[in-house]
């Protein structure tokens, strides 16, 4: 703990210079040296984490404690090295410097977590496992975890693709054709707002397998927001665009494919984003209740065996997957809607 308070005591007077570095102002030589302070402290925080693993004996038997502390020291060394040679590393160095405050916070958080669980059990065991227990899951239970990831991704991808495709086509048809709208709109109003999970009992005895039932539910959860937003996107296209295209000789197919759909695309992406969120919820519930594979099932299984570290390990993987999927969607959107830059923000 002495290291911790010492580093903190030095940190305070330097915060002004750090602020200057963040603001990107040119710095004189001694100030520049001080500006890399955050990196040094981040490194110190990871040393602290390594030490916190070693200083006290574990309250229980966790085989990965020593390895974890070594890893922490290696990371600390890496941060320090990168900070000192920051200019030489180019973009990587700059990126690291920008993230130094986060690395610092992470190191402190891990130290606190380590001490609060493995060393003094301020948080009750086994409900709050220490970091080394979770690392242990990743090393020892990897095959099962990977199988679960693959199962979840497959189920999610299939259901999402079907839901997005059907939702998009339905949305375009109701937005475009008044007679399709007349028939589909009331059905959509009646069924759409129902949470997809409410269909669970129905789906599981209607469909031949729990797999197809879950695919249906995920597609349903994705399809509703995609349909509604595609529809509103197509319906809100400025009529002047159609007038322009018609006077230039456009046929109806051109009006749909080259006017209505591109104009509606920003709305479609909002729908895809919302659909992704609600389909994650359905995926996990479906896996917890019916499907005998996937991360939701893994969570349920871990909880049944009181394997809380497995649960946390699965939760971390799940959150990485979900945020990865959303990042991917946003990247796709930015690519396709490059013309929107500076027009719309959401």
């Amino acid at each position: 703990m002495s290291t911790y308070s010492a580093s903190k005591a030095v940190a305070i007077p330097q915060s002004v210079e750090e602020g200057a570095a963040l603001a990107g102002r040119p710095l004189s030589f001694p100030t520049a040296l001080l500006a890399s302070g955050t990196g040094v402290f981040a490194s110190a925080a990871w040393v602290l984490f390594g030490l916190s693993c070693q200083l006290w004996t574990d309250l229980s038997d966790w085989p990965r404690t020593h390895a974890l502390s070594i890893a922490a020291f290696i990371i600390a060394g890496g941060i320090l090295g990168a900070t000192v040679s920051g200019k030489l590393l180019g973009r990587f160095g700059a990126g690291l410097q920008a993230r130094a405050p986060w690395l610092l916070a992470l190191g402190l958080f891990l130290s606190l977590w380590e001490v609060a669980t493995a060393k003094f059990a301020w948080l009750p065991l086994p409900f709050f496992p220490p970091p080394q227990a979770i690392i242990e899951v990743y090393t020892d239970d990897l095959p099962k975890l990977l199988d679960s990831v693959v199962a979840s991704v497959k189920l999610q991808l299939g259901g999402y693709a079907i839901g997005a495709a059907v939702g998009f086509l339905t949305g375009v048809s109701i937005g475009w054709s008044r007679s399709v709208g007349y028939w589909v709109h009331p059905v959509l109003r009646f069924i759409g707002p129902l949470p997809a999970t409410a269909w669970l009992p129905f789906a599981f005895f209607t469909f031949p397998s729990s797999w197809s039932a879950s695919t249906f539910l995920i597609a349903l959860a994705t399809g509703f927001p995609v349909t509604v937003l595609t529809w509103s996107g197509v319906a809100s296209v400025n009529n002047a665009y159609y007038d322009v295209a018609r006077t230039l000789g456009a046929k109806p197919s051109f009006l749909v494919l080259k006017v209505a759909i591109p104009a509606a695309l920003p709305h479609v992406f909002v729908g895809l984003f919302m659909g992704l969120g609600s389909s994650f919820a359905v995926l996990v519930v479906a896996e917890m209740i019916g499907v005998k594979a996937g991360l939701g099932w893994y969570l349920q299984w871990a909880q049944g065996w009181a394997a809380y570290s497995n649960m946390y390990a699965a939760l971390i993987v799940m959150s990485l997957l979900c945020s990865g999927a959303i990042t991917l969607l946003f990247k796709t959107r930015d690519r396709l809607l490059v013309w929107q830059k500076g027009v719309v923000k959401w």
Binding site: R246, T247, L248, G249, A263, W339, V343
Partner: protein, 265 residues
């Protein structure tokens, strides 16, 4: 830029079409009541003429243009292009609206290519798109998106998008109405130059008397809604015209009088 075209000798390729507007009446249904907007409008346009339609705001000028473009059928009367009845939109009659209405998801080049693409003849005719962009002086902006353009540039792109189709009748619905006055004066000159070079028939709605007189062969003055033709005035002055021309000033006074605005003279 196009401005140098002023100096070129005037050529009349006469690609323009004749237009017959025969006893057109039109009305809108608004909440069950019928609102008449055009009342027996009757005039004919010779190939290559530049007609300005002047009238008080909301009198039905723009509706008349929509009917000529074929975007709507008239309630009664008929429209003919070179003797053939107009029954729907056709790329020989292209409209430039008050708003540029460029497609924001398309670059300048792709916006201008819209007509050829819609007609399925873009392949092998890409040069026409380049030429049209060149014509309005925006070659450097061919890959820009509409939100990166100024109002005047956007309206030039809209003009290029119309001209790339080699229209026989160019329909202009207050195309310069939203531009600042300097850009407007520049573009009036460009418009005259383009019209003289290409020889298309032009039908332009405006509420600016000076603009009408600077550009048009004939100014048709319309009454309040429902629009009726109040006067059909030939502007028999050579091009390029000068804004200070006393003959134009005299016509301007006359027209303002017809519109009931002579007190401001």
């Amino acid at each position: 830029m196009v401005a140098h075209a002023f100096a070129e000798p005037i050529t009349f390729p006469a690609v323009g079409a004749a237009l017959e507007v025969e006893h057109i009446s039109h009305a809108f249904d608004i909440d069950g009541s019928v609102l008449p907007v055009l009342d027996d409008v009757n005039f004919s346009v010779k190939p290559g003429e530049f007609i300005a339609l002047l009238g008080p705001s909301g009198c039905g000028k723009s509706t008349l243009l929509r009917l000529v473009a074929g975007l709507e059928p008239p309630r009664s009367g008929s429209l003919r292009e070179d003797g053939e009845a107009i029954s729907g939109p056709f790329p020989s009659r292209v409209v430039v609206f008050q708003d540029p209405t460029l497609f924001p998801w398309r670059t300048v080049w792709n916006n201008v290519a819209l007509g050829l693409e819609a007609q399925g003849i873009l392949k092998g005719q890409r040069q026409r798109v380049d030429d049209a962009i060149e014509l309005v002086g925006l070659s450097q902006f061919r890959n820009a998106y509409p939100h990166q353009l100024s109002g005047g540039m956007a309206q030039r792109v809209a003009l290029a998008r119309a001209l790339v189709n080699d229209p026989k009748i160019l329909i202009l619905d207050e195309p310069l109405g939203k531009l600042d006055s300097l850009t407007r004066i520049t573009m009036q000159g460009e418009l005259v130059a383009l019209w003289q070079r290409k020889g298309f028939t032009t039908l332009m709605v405006t509420h600016d008397v000076e603009e009408a007189l600077f550009l048009a062969n004939r100014v048709i003055v319309l009454s309040d809604r429902p629009a009726r033709i109040k006067a059909d005035i030939a502007v028999d002055r050579p091009y390029p015209r000068h804004r200070g021309d006393p003959a134009l000033a005299e016509l301007r006074r006359h027209i303002l009088g017809l519109l009931g605005l002579d007190a401001t003279w």
